[in-house]
Amino acid sequence: MITKQKSRVDACFERRSEDSKIMSLFITAGYPDLESTVDLILGFEKNGADIIELGMPFSDPLADGPTIQYASNVAIANGITMKKIFQMVKEVRKSSQIPIILMGYINPVLRYGIDEFCREAAECGADGLILPDSPPEESSLIADAAKNNNLDMIYLVAPNSTDARMKKVDELSSGFVYCVSVTGVTGARQGEEVARSVERFIGRVNQNVTKNPKLVGFGIKNHDDAFIISKQVDGFIVGSALIDAIRKNYPNNGWMDNVFSFVKELKHG
């Protein structure tokens, strides 16, 4: 008989002190090459990351802007597969307990087989799933398999989500709720624009999402963005800006250290 341990994601939010924010970093598995992903994750953790969102590349990432499209294409060209992604998570687990959320589009998951995918993801040490093209309407496809394997299902709320929808997302989600700060694709907006539009939205989120912690993302480029936007929630998510930092430095000498400096700066300013 296996007793359910407290999930790594829950534990992470419980550890958060009042005056700090949870930093979740998105990285595309297999970008910029297959060998670096594990080292990047471990280095992110050392430099302040609290959660990793590990991107499962898809050929047609229609919710993503040019940056993550590019990273996905590179990773696919590098020969990334679902098995290799699971192997990467396993490798990280040898030395780290950082929560890892697998994030991607539903089709590669469907193709792998939903039950097999959830079982193997859990076995290798992944903690949850974010599938942006699988909204609550379609959650029945995967919700049971995720639950049976103790994987958190994380759904998104957006500025145009109604109050009722936000409540529904809160009810269906576990781990945390992903707050998309602006309408648009990933990475699309500039910091100031985000900061202005986000306040009212976060106010509504806080009224309606009461069960789960909340992380806010989309368009965060630097430390100042991150801390202004996440003032009223538990933390923030950075994806495109991090991929851009890798793209700018790779494969120059010391590229990884430069990326880690960017990460440290994101968290600590």
Binding site: L62, P108, L110, T183, V185
Partner: protein, 395 residues
């Protein structure tokens, strides 16, 4: 049993649904409500049908293909002449319908994707007629092979945005259109050109095209006093086929055949024969058959016809395939081009290369028919736009 698909959730059997980012869900809900209301709104219905009559030129004719009939020496062949619609293909039935919805919903900006350019031209035309801002996404490769249509869209006042990602064809144009929609969802209406995408698009687009099958039924009753034995239509996303088939779907004796583009052959990797060799997957908002590899990465489709060069297919076709209500076959580039020539020479009708895929199947079907049987082919579009490809092929 009477056919009732889709369900309230947008499922045709196990296919369909709403696989889109959260941001689009409110837009789809708003659209569902507006569409439902339009069905019971006599003013909307009258305006739509008046436009079909006065502007599109409906009803389109049903033409007896006498020389082709003699050529095969078996059943009678008719063409449903969607090529006679204003702008040269069936696409405008849907573009006008969706534009009226957009206007009633207070949207001010229209976007669309296009492959062959026919949907882009139809959308640009409707936008010109109603004075709407119009942005069309089109793959760079398609812009090359359908240059005439690009020029037409520009003349009609639309902005044509070249899409250079991926295969630079319809799939990638659709990705870009969805990204635009996600970003500008407040003021923008996305006019999808086929029976693909998230619910309610496959339902709505089908219903804007069922006029094709309804007219065919009536016209054939006049000409032959009976129902057809066979209906044949080409299928990319599948809008002309579903509009043609749907009014006959409960007439069990009417056999329906959908023709996919097999490209260089359904047994090669240069093909667009989704139902023949694909398997269920999610692309562009719905669950349906899909060409994808063992990792679920979408494969590049190939067809000489830009309108059929798509790795997915409408969810209703997947359902009709599984239930065997419609039978689907592949036609190669070569067979389609031969049919372009034959139809031009024997009937004085230059079909679009898409449409010629359906004509090409007559080679296989006609020898199996009896003298007293009736075959109707949906002549979905005219071939003017393809003259460059056609000339190169036969030179």
């Amino acid at each position: 049993m009477k056919y009732t698909a889709p369900t309230k959730q947008g499922y045709f059997g196990k296919y369909g649904g709403k696989f889109v980012p959260e941001i689009l869900i409110p837009a789809l809900e708003e659209l569902e409500i507006a569409y439902e209301e339009s069905l019971n709104d006599p003013i909307f219905q009258k305006e739509y049908h008046d436009l079909l009559e006065e502007y599109v030129g409906r009803p389109t004719k049903l033409t007896f293909a006498n020389r082709l009939t003699d050529h095969y020496g078996r059943g009678k062949i008719y063409f449903k002449r969607e090529d006679l619609c204003h702008t040269g293909a069936h696409k405008i039935n849907n573009a006008i319908g969706q534009l009226l919805l957009a206007r009633n919903m207070g949207k001010t900006r229209i976007i669309a994707e296009t492959g062959a350019g026919q949907h882009g031209v139809a959308t640009a035309t409707a936008c010109a007629k109603f004075g709407f801002e119009c942005v069309i996404y089109m793959g760079a490769e398609d812009m090359e092979r359908q240059k005439l249509n690009v020029d037409r869209m520009k003349l009609l006042g639309a902005e044509v945005r070249s899409v250079t990602s991926g295969s630079q064809t319809l799939k990638d144009a659709t990705n870009e259109a969805i990204r635009d929609w996600v970003t500008n969802v407040e003021n923008t209406f996305y006019i999808i050109g086929s029976v693909v995408g998230p619910h309610p698009y496959p339902l709505m687009t089908r219903n804007f095209h069922t006029v094709i099958g309804e007219e065919t039924k009536e016209q054939l009753r006049h000409a032959e006093g009976r129902l057809p034995d066979y209906l044949v239509a080409c299928v990319g996303g599948g809008s002309n086929a579903i509009g043609f088939f749907y009014p006959f779907i409960d007439d069990e004796d009417v056999k329906m055949i959908g023709i996919e583009a097999a490209g260089l052959g359904a047994d090669t990797d240069q093909t667009a024969a989704t139902l023949t060799i694909g398997s269920p997957g999610v692309l562009h908002g719905s669950l349906s058959y899909l060409l994808h590899d063992s990792e679920g990465q979408v494969q590049l489709a190939h067809s000489i016809s830009a309108g059929l060069d798509y790795p997915g297919i409408g969810p209703e076709h997947s359902h009709l395939h599984d239930t065997k209500r419609v039978h689907y076959f592949g036609i190669t580039d070569q067979q389609a081009m031969d049919a372009v020539k034959l139809t031009s020479e024997m009937e004085g009708i230059i079909p679009a290369i898409e449409t010629a895929h359906a004509m090409a199947y007559l080679e296989k079907l006609m020898p199996l028919t009896q003298k007293d049987e009736v075959v109707v082919v949906n002549c979905s579009g005219r071939g003017d736009k393809d003259m460059k490809t056609i000339s190169e092929w036969f030179s």
